[in-house]
């Protein structure tokens, strides 16, 4: 039965994509984004902002849920639909918490307080932000392709949201415990790229277009190391089921066996969600928000929501695959799970306070020349260890060795004493004589 559910959901999303794509095709043949700006604006002020919010959120959600209900029917479908609704509520709260947390962590890094005015310690700030975003005027520029432009947030949000169908929060706390859970997650995270491209293309803005092209290049290349690392984990466990992966780890989390895989997965995950130092596709100082540049109000809020849900997802996946999920002493499992997730998410926010951003060509070079080969080396070494039943510590040593090699390469390339640039100091006295 769960198999049918998966097909139904995939079918629903693909249908949505195809619909949006076809709509885009018909409108954009022979039209380039630059010329569109010169066309006289049409007299159309679009629907009201609340209506837009309802159509995007409600319409998109309904389509997906309807697809599930139609194919499956009966009690099972209702459980999935109810679970999705509960998940949506849960994730909204999580996103509110994450925005607050990010601003507090960044404030801490930057020697300031972060939000302090709305509510005690600024605790109500995210709610104020949410109200502001929803009530803000939703501007639709006159030159955009309305269909693609309005569907893009939905096409971006739905796949990222549906991933959560298979995520276990504790033993048994999962809507659909799929045996192919890991594969399902990877497949759906790729689907979200279409939404980004629709946003960039549909808004007919050069910065948006540039940003969405960057997004495609970046997200597709960084899928590969992530998949290879996920395969390594699957090989260790012998299963793609997330619950069995956690159970297989037990008290020895895979970070101990796969230290290098952990680092690769974290780097790849950061690139996949477009966070510092890989926030290239919405770099404010270059492409001014990239695909989202023309969006405002509720539409922008949906992108924002999806981005933070993705950040949370990386934390969850790292916790599940490498930090043995909900396993831990004394405290209940769910609590352990969230402690681990938020620890990873804090590290992600901490990066944002520390690192500058890479350039797109450097990002591609890092992905294709460093991460992908190293991920395969790690995969092959682990395969040997698994096949010949070497003890666990050999894997740890190999992982640490790879990690050291990686660190050494970065150091030798950039910051080794011979490579690091310097400034000469010429005393003014010498120059005065000359």
């Amino acid at each position: 039965m769960s198999w049918l559910g998966v097909f139904a959901i995939i079918g629903g999303v693909v249908a949505l994509m195809v619909f949006a794509g076809v709509l885009g095709m018909f409108t954009f043949v022979g039209r380039d984004p630059g010329d569109a700006a010169l066309a006289p604006p049409e007299a159309d002020d679009g629907p009201g902002r609340l209506l837009v919010l309802m159509t995007t959120l409600g319409g998109g959600g309904m389509m997906a849920i309807a697809a599930v209900v139609i194919v499956l029917g009966g009690l099972d479908a209702l459980i999935v639909a109810g679970g999705l609704l509960a998940l949506f509520a849960f994730l909204s709260v999580v996103v509110l918490a994450l925005t607050y947390m990010e601003r507090k962590v960044l404030g801490r890094v930057q020697q300031r307080l972060g939000p302090m005015r709305v509510g005690p310690w600024g605790l109500l700030q995210p709610i104020a932000d949410a109200i502001k975003l929803i009530t803000k005027e939703d501007i639709t520029p006159s030159w955009v392709d309305k269909g693609v432009y309005w569907l893009a947030p939905v096409a971006f949000f739905i796949p990222t949201f549906l991933i959560w169908l298979v995520i276990p929060f504790a033993s048994g706390w999962v809507i659909r415990d799929l045996d192919l859970g890991l594969l399902y997650i990877i497949a759906f995270s790729v689907l979200a790229i279409a939404g980004l491209f629709m946003a960039g293309w549909g808004s007919a803005n050069k910065y948006g277009f540039l940003g969405s092209l960057r997004a495609i290049a970046q997200l597709i290349s960084y899928e590969i190391p992530i998949i290879v690392v996920a395969l390594t984990i699957a090989m260790l466990t012998g299963s793609l089921n997330l619950s069995s992966i956690v159970e297989a780890q037990g008290s020895v989390p895979y970070i101990a066996l796969q230290p290098f895989g952990f680092v690769l997965f974290l780097i790849g995950g950061l690139a996949e969600i477009g966070r510092t130092p890989f926030d290239i596709y919405h770099a404010e100082s270059e492409v001014m928000g990239g695909p989202f540049v023309e969006y405002s109000g509720a539409h922008w809020a949906i992108f924002y929501l999806a981005e933070y849900v993705n950040t949370f997802l990386v934390g969850v996946l790292v916790a599940l695959l490498f930090l043995s999920g909900w396993v831990g002493p004394v405290l209940p499992g769910v609590l352990w799970f969230f402690i681990k997730v938020f620890a990873v998410v804090t590290v992600i926010f901490w990066f944002r306070g520390t690192f500058p951003r890479l350039r797109i060509d450097q990002l591609m070079a890092l992905g294709w020349k460093a991460l992908i080969p190293l991920a395969f080396v790690n995969f092959v070494l682990t395969a040997f260890a698994v096949f010949y039943h070497w003890p666990g510590w050999t894997m740890t040593l190999m992982g640490l060795g790879l990690l050291l090699a990686f660190g050494y390469l970065v150091n030798a390339r950039f910051t080794a004493p011979g490579r690091r640039p310097t400034v000469r100091m010429i005393p003014a006295k010498e120059l005065r004589g000359a």
């Binding site: 022979g30 690192f355 951003r357 350039r359 797109i360 060509d361 640039p421 100091m425 003014a428 006295k429």
Partner: protein, 372 residues
Amino acid sequence: MTQARQLQSLDMMVNMGPQHPSTHGVFRMVLWLDGEEVVDVEPHIGYLHRGSEKLAEDELYPQIITLFDRMDYVGNFNSELAFCMAVEKLMSVEVPERPQYLRIILCELNRISSHMLFYGTMGLDAGAMTPVMFGFRERERIQRLFEATSGARMMHNYFRIGGIKEEPPPDFKQRVAGVLGELDAGIDQCDKLLTYNEVYLMRTKDVGRISGKEALELGLTGPSLRASGVPYDVRVYEPYSLYNRFQFDIPVGNNGDVWDRYAVRVAEMRESVKIIRQALEQMPDGGPLVAQGVRRIPRPPKGETYLATESPRGELGVFIVSDGGDKPYRLKVRPPSFVNLQSLRPMLRNSYVADAVMILGSLDIILGEVDR
């Protein structure tokens, strides 16, 4: 649509600015892009043109100081100094030592605060959020001192032809010494955060390179020229005021890339601290604040003069033609930002979009000064 049009790959023209977060004001770059690569660039200026030079012809000499405040609005004291010294040179006025030292202290502090702003925006251009917070924290210490001294945070109008406006607060020396102590730690912290960050090195090393010869040909001055290996500093080559009395080093870069332009400025902040320390030690405690015999509305003798100073951005020169009246007949400014901007095109060719932002940032232009 013809077959040829379909197969042709067109360069994309992108208007970067005047409303773009990283053009450092109202500057517009028309970029022609081939994918991510910059094929050509055409800078457009003039969005902040206020006609300062023409306005100056209709203002009394002391009133022009306020116009100079608004030219380089990040290095206000340095702008004021250039104008005041040019008029003093025209009138052959000998300025007493105490105001000279005070001017140097304030100008060097202003250089640090200007470079701190550069440091912050450089971080922002590179995509790092924290440097701007650290930079502004250090700036704030200096701004408070300026406010206490001149009464204003930006448009000070504190220097006068022949001296300064009024006595600084009685605890000026202690306050400056205190700020210097905090700056030492602050500059070190900023340096540690960004300078040798691997990602930052990736983004800045060998980006926007320009050789010393080419830089000289383009008229580059200031830290941007010194980054290309030419140790030219007006404070040393044509020492003005009392700069001959101080011991300090001139930081010089080796490659002339964005990193060098950044690192030279960071090193310069430390040198400025050194200069201020020496000036505080040498400064007399009492004495006149304005030169003797300078009238409230000066009328310089007929003639013309050019005087160059080292502003945070480079050689800031003022050319004044006087017809003996109380207003200049003609006033011309050599703004370092405007001249430095000429090197944008050769630096930008065959770089990436992301580099364009970094290279523009590394020139540290102030649009108020470019457009005047």
